[in-house]
Structure formats: structure tokens, C-alpha cells
């Protein structure tokens, strides 16, 4: 409208080659990659030891549990079992916690930029998956050093990826549900904190199923009900695959292992509905 000649010698206009813009699917993938990288970089950059801390924290926890359990329950408590349980539990806890803040923690982004909102919990879970896979290497070493029967690695090459996929699907479902709930309900964080503590004791992270025999020996339905908690068969599954232990098949374990998939479908539907109004509530 107004003709004003501005010659900006310090900043000549950039070469007029048009920018290439990815089609939506490719752009979403690229953004997911970037978000995961951001999550991981930010997590490991804060401290000098970086990644080492994600390794050391559960490891220390496992050692502490083992020491106390040996005092309380006797010398049969095996470190490698606790290590496997605690690392897998940590994967879920971290997914829940980062899922919880996946949307609210990126309020600025959600309010001001248009992009597929589902990427937020997916990126949070994916970053935790990467951490978990890295800790898995350490678990292999520990298990290799400690496993007495030498039977580990028996069938894991087939079963482990599938179990990790199922575990990840479960974590993603939780991250989506809680991430969306946290936008609308202010007390989600507190309830989740309480829930996680209870859940920790209801899942075989720092103990194995033999501990339950006292109660379940006479009441088999109790074991089945216990196993309907997806984390129970998942954590037990890791031990079964890595240590060659028997897996407690039954309707409880079947329900527990199947549950993550409908849960993920439901979480996806809830999230899709909820995300429409994210920007209004943040």
C-alpha cells in the first residue's frame, strides 16, 4: 500500500529458493523425532553424569530393596530379579510422570502452534522407551553376571521385543489418559502420586510372585485377580524371558496382557476428543 523503499544492507534478503515443507505425515514424524531428541537432551544435559543417572537411580533403588528384603524376608531375594523388576517399573513410572506433564508442560506450544497434539504424549513415552532400551543393555550385563542357572537369553530374542512393545503400549495409554486429564483436572497430579505408591506395592517390582504364595496358595482366584493388573504379568514376563523362569499362565495373566491394547484404543479416543479444547484450558 505505502511504497517505502527499505534497503537493508546488513541483512540482504535470503536467497529466494522456496523452502521445502514436508507433507503432514513426514512433518509429524520429523517433529516427533525432534521432540524426543529435545526430551532426551534436556534430561541428560542438566547434570554432568547425564544418562548415568537414569541408570544409577533405579540401580541404587534395587540394591536398597535387596538389602532390606534380605533382612526382612531372608537370603533368597535375588538381586537380578529385583533389578529387572525395578527397571521395568521405572519405565512405567517415568512414562506416567512425563505423560502427566506432556501437555501442560508444553502449554506455550499447544496454545500457539498447530501440530498434531498426540505427538506430545507419544514423544514423552518414546523418550522413556529410549532410556529403557539403554538400561536394558546394563540389565543384560547384570543378569549375565548374576544369573546362576545360566539359562538367561533362552527365548528373549523372540519374546522380549513383543513384551517391550506391549509394555510401551500400556505406558502410552496411561500417558495419553493422564496427559489429557491433567489439562482439565487440577488434582490429577496428586491423585496419580497416591495411586503410584499403591500400585508399586501391588506390582511385583521389588518382589516376585513367590512372596504372594502365603496368600494365594489357598486362594488361587486371588493370584488371577492380582495378575489382571497389566504390570504384574509384564514384570513377571521380563523375569521369565530374561531369567528363564516359568510364567504363571492363566486367565488373570491373559487379561493383564490383553488389557493394554483396548486401553490404548480407548485412551486414543479420549485424547482425540479432549485435545480439541486443550488450548482453552491451559
Amino acid at each position: 500500500m505505502k511504497e517505502t523503499a527499505v534497503i537493508d544492507t546488513a541483512n540482504p534478503a535470503p536467497t529466494e529458493t522456496p523452502l521445502r515443507v514436508h507433507p503432514p505425515a513426514r512433518a509429524a514424524r520429523e517433529l516427533l523425532f525432534n521432540l524426543v531428541a529435545r526430551e532426551l537432551k534436556a534430561r541428560y544435559k542438566g547434570s554432568a553424569l547425564g544418562f548415568l543417572w537414569t541408570l544409577l537411580t533405579p540401580l541404587f533403588m534395587a540394591v536398597i530393596y535387596v538389602v532390606f528384603l534380605r533382612i526382612l524376608a531372608g537370603p533368597d531375594v535375588r538381586l537380578e530379579e529385583i533389578v529387572i523388576g525395578v527397571f521395568a517399573w521405572t519405565f512405567t513410572v517415568q512414562s506416567v510422570q512425563s505423560g502427566l506433564t506432556a501437555v501442560t508442560g508444553n502449554a506455550n506450544l499447544v496454545k500457539k502452534v498447530r501440530f498434531p497434539r498426540a505427538l506430545l504424549p507419544v514423544a514423552a513415552t518414546a523418550a522413556n522407551l529410549v532410556s529403557f532400551l539403554l538400561t536394558l543393555v546394563v540389565q543384560f550385563v547384570i543378569v549375565g553376571l548374576l544369573a546362576r542357572e545360566g539359562r538367561f537369553f533362552s527365548a528373549w530374542s523372540l519374546g522380549l521385543p513383543a513384551l517391550i512393545a506391549l509394555h510401551t503400549a500400556f505406558n502410552l495409554a496411561l500417558a495419553m489418559l493422564l496427559g489429557a486429564a491433567n489439562v482439565y483436572f487440577r488434582d490429577t497430579q496428586h491423585l496419580v502420586g497416591v495411586g503410584l505408591s499403591a500400585w508399586f506395592f501391588l506390582s511385583p517390582a521389588m518382589y516376585n510372585l513367590t512372596l504372594l504364595e502365603r496368600w494365594t496358595a489357598t486362594r488361587p482366584w486371588l493370584l488371577q485377580a492380582y495378575l489382571a493388573n497389566p504390570l504384574a504379568p509384564i514384570l513377571t514376563g521380563y523375569r521369565a524371558l530374561l531369567l528363564g523362569q516359568a510364567f504363571p499362565w492363566g486367565w488373570g495373566a491373559a487379561v493383564g496382557l490383553a488389557l493394554p491394547l483396548p486401553l490404548l484404543a480407548a485412551a486414543g479416543a479420549v485424547y482425540r476428543r479432549a485435545q480439541r479444547n486443550f488450548a482453552d484450558y491451559l
Binding site: M1, K2, T4, V6, D8, N11, A13, P14, T15, T17, P18, L19, R20, V21, H22, P24, A27, E30, L31, F33, N34, L35, A37, R38, K41, A42, K45, G46, N106, N108, L109, V110, K111, K112, V113, R114, F115, A181, Y184, F185, R186, D187, T188, L191, R276, N277, A279, D280
Partner: protein, 395 residues
């Protein structure tokens, strides 16, 4: 229709307002917190418009009138409750300055992340990276975590990324007021560059001067409705006249003893017609009708003019001009002529005052009371119109 960049049909956005207590998950799960019917608040309703490609539109209106909701709807960050909005082409919004910057990552990492959010290919960002950094003026800081940046640096980097992404539609929400003067000038240059390249711009701002200067068209939004659209000077004038003092940018005041009261003011153009829009280089006349409730022997008439942005332009009174103090009695009329009007294109606000010559008594003062607009058909440029004459040898 191919030339429409943004089109909205019966667009509406309704927010639910839920008293003091926010909903709780505990309540929702246990059914303890019974659902109270939520109050509804329509931030925007029944808004329809088409913006042709290449046009720059300024959205003005009082605070809370729905301007930012409108931008959010166009940007697609908030979903309409009813109606629809369509934007053709890639949108970059300067409402997202620094959005998505992660404090722990370096400037460099954040630039790539930001570009990914906008869907730009990584290699293309790499090619323009130096230019982005140069524009933001952050060469020595680019590998520092952005949490160590000052707020100005943060915004500069955000702006640099946003404009370098070469969008078809640029949405700007009041962000040009940040950064130092040098950077603001750079930003405005870059926005002019956008206009030259035929991009579509949608502005939200309270800086009316900026709307005057940059926009082809202005939208006046009030209480969630698109009240008026048209030439910026006309719309701004309407805005100033209708909504001054309503939480807007202009704080009008009136005070004085009212011994002499300003009853009415008429603003007249060269032909003696009452108007709010004047032309540079032509006369502007202000007629003040007053009533003196008691005889006054020492009255001084004064006026001042500010720009729409509140910058003081000029002030004078009859005393400064060396006129004798006026004796006023009963009804009367005073005339103020500005001939020729040397203001350039823009929105201005006139204040009027009648006070005693010793400045002890303010009879009646209306501060920031009378808005008017100036159009400049002469084609001259600059801050003021200088009455210039050339004598050039005729060979």
C-alpha cells in the same frame, strides 16, 4: 475464490466459565463434585469475512473483545465452537515467538526444533541458519542454553525463526512492541518485505499508528463481533469515538470547575463540513461552543494533539500566542484554525481546555477527548508536512 487467503463463516468460539472451583478428577471419578451448569461466554460469534491474498489486515478493538481468539482460530490452535475458518497456505504466527523453545537446549538446537514444529525440512533450515542467527544478532550466544538469554534475545530468536520460515500467511499478535528500537525497525522492515512479496498478513495490535501505517484494511472487533471493516483511518476513528475509555488504550479525562463549560465541539474541514477525517495541507477548523456560568475575565483557550499511540505532537494556547485573556459571559463560540494542517497520515486525539490566565483555575478541560484522522493525499513522506517550495532553474 482462489485468491482468498483466509475465509471465515459464522465463526464462533464459546468458553465455559466455571466459577471459582476448578473441576477435580477426584470429583469426576467419585461423583462427589456435582456438576454445576457452566456459564457460557462467547468470545467470538457469527464472524464472517474473506481476506484476499496479499492483503494486510489490522484487527483492533478494546481488550477482551475477541481479537486474540480470532487469531488463534485462524492459526488453528483453538477449535471453533461453531462455524468454520479456512486458511489457504502455510501459516506462521508471530504469536508463537519462542513457543516451544526449551530452556535447557541451546539456541541452535531450539532453532531446529522450532523449524520442525513448523514442518520445515532440516536441510533447508541448515541453509538459512546463518541468516537466522545474523538477523537475531545472536552469533556469540547461539550455542548457549536459551535459559541464559534475556527476554529480548529470546524474542529476537523467535522472530528470526518465524519470518525465515517464509509463510504464506503471517499472523502477528502484539509482539512487535518487544525488543529494542533497532530490532523493531528490523522487524517492521521484514514485514514490509512480506507485503511486497504478496503475502497475507493479519495483525492484532493496540498500536493504532502501526495499523495506519501497514494495513490495507482494518477490522474492528467488539464484544466478540466484527463490528466494522474498512479503510484503516475510518475504522480507527470509529473505534476511538465509540470505545474510548472502555478498557481501551485511551484514558479520557474531564475536569475543571465548570465556571466555563465546553458544551459542544464541531470539527470542520475546508468546506465547513463537519467531519472526523482531514487532509494534510488543507485547513482544519475546530469550533468550540461554551457557556460561562458566571462572568470570567481571564480565560485562556488551549489545545493539544497526540498521536493515536499517545505521543505528544503539539500544544499551544491563546496566552502563548500572545492573545489577551478573554472575557466570557453567557454562551459563546471560539474557533481554532489549523491552516494548513501539517500532520501526516494517522490517527490523532485532540484535547481542549479553558483555564484562567494565572493557571490557578481550570475551568473545563477535556483530555484526549476528540479523536480525528488525517489522510495524506499529497504523496509526501515523513513525520510532518513542511510547506516547501522549490525554485529550480528552467533550462
Amino acid at each position: 475464490m482462489a485468491d482468498i487467503a483466509i475465509s471465515a463463516r459464522d465463526l464462533g468460539k464459546c468458553y465455559r466459565v466455571r466459577g471459582h472451583a476448578p473441576p477435580t478428577l477426584f470429583g469426576a471419578l467419585t461423583g462427589l463434585g456435582r456438576r454445576r451448569p457452566a456459564d457460557r461466554f462467547w468470545a467470538l460469534r457469527k464472524v464472517s469475512f474473506d481476506i484476499p491474498r496479499g492483503r494486510t489486515v489490522g484487527v483492533i478493538g478494546p481488550n477482551g473483545s475477541g481479537k486474540s481468539s480470532l487469531l488463534g482460530l485462524v492459526a488453528g490452535t483453538i477449535s471453533p465452537t461453531e462455524g468454520a475458518v479456512r486458511a489457504e497456505g502455510r501459516i506462521s504466527s508471530l504469536l508463537e515467538l519462542g513457543a516451544g523453545f526449551h530452556p535447557d537446549l541451546t539456541g541452535r538446537e531450539n532453532v531446529y526444533l522450532n523449524a520442525a514444529i513448523l514442518g520445515i525440512a532440516r536441510e533447508d533450515v541448515r541453509r538459512r541458519f546463518d541468516h537466522i542467527v545474523e538477523f537475531a544478532g545472536l552469533r556469540e550466544f547461539i550455542d548457549q542454553p536459551v535459559k541464559h538469554y534475556s527476554s529480548g534475545m529470546y524474542v529476537r530468536l523467535g522472530f528470526a525463526v518465524a519470518v525465515e520460515m517464509d509463510p504464506d500467511i503471517l499472523l502477528v499478535d502484539e509482539v512487535l512492541a518487544v525488543g529494542d528500537i533497532a530490532f523493531q525497525v528490523k522487524c517492521l522492515d521484514r514485514i514490509r518485505d512480506f507485503q511486497r512479496r504478496g503475502k497475507t498478513l493479519l495483525f492484532v495490535t493496540h498500536a493504532l499508528q502501526t495499523v495506519e501505517e501497514f494495513c490495507d484494511e482494518a477490522f474492528l472487533v467488539h464484544r466478540g463481533a466484527l463490528v466494522e471493516r474498512g479503510r484503516p483511518d475510518e475504522v480507527i476513528l470509529r473505534y476511538l469515538r465509540s470505545y474510548m475509555g472502555e478498557g481501551g488504550m485511551i484514558f479520557t479525562q474531564e475536569f475543571g470547575t465548570r465556571d466555563v463549560e465546553i458544551r459542544g465541539v464541531r470539527m470542520l474541514d475546508a468546506d465547513g463540513r463537519e467531519t472526523g477525517i482531514f487532509e494534510t495541507g488543507r485547513p482544519m477548523v475546530v469550533e468550540i461552543s461554551y457557556t460561562a456560568r458566571r462572568p470570567v475575565r481571564d480565560a485562556v483557550f488551549g489545545f493539544s494533539i497526540k498521536t493515536g499511540n499517545g505521543m505528544y505532537v503539539f500544544g499551544s494556547n491563546t496566552q502563548i500566542l500572545g492573545l489577551p485573556a478573554a472575557r466570557l459571559e453567557g454562551d459563546g463560540r471560539a474557533r481554532l484554525s489549523l491552516d494548513p494542517l501539517t500532520l501526516m497520515q494517522g490517527s490523532f486525539i485532540l484535547s481542549l481546555a479553558i483555564h484562567s490566565s494565572d493557571h490557578a483555575t481550570q475551568y473545563h478541560r477535556r483530555e484526549d477527548w476528540y479523536p480525528f484522522a488525517v489522510r495524506n493525499p499529497t504523496g509526501t513522506l515523513g513525520l510532518f508536512h513542511l510547506n516547501s517550495r522549490w525554485e529550480v532553474p528552467d533550462v
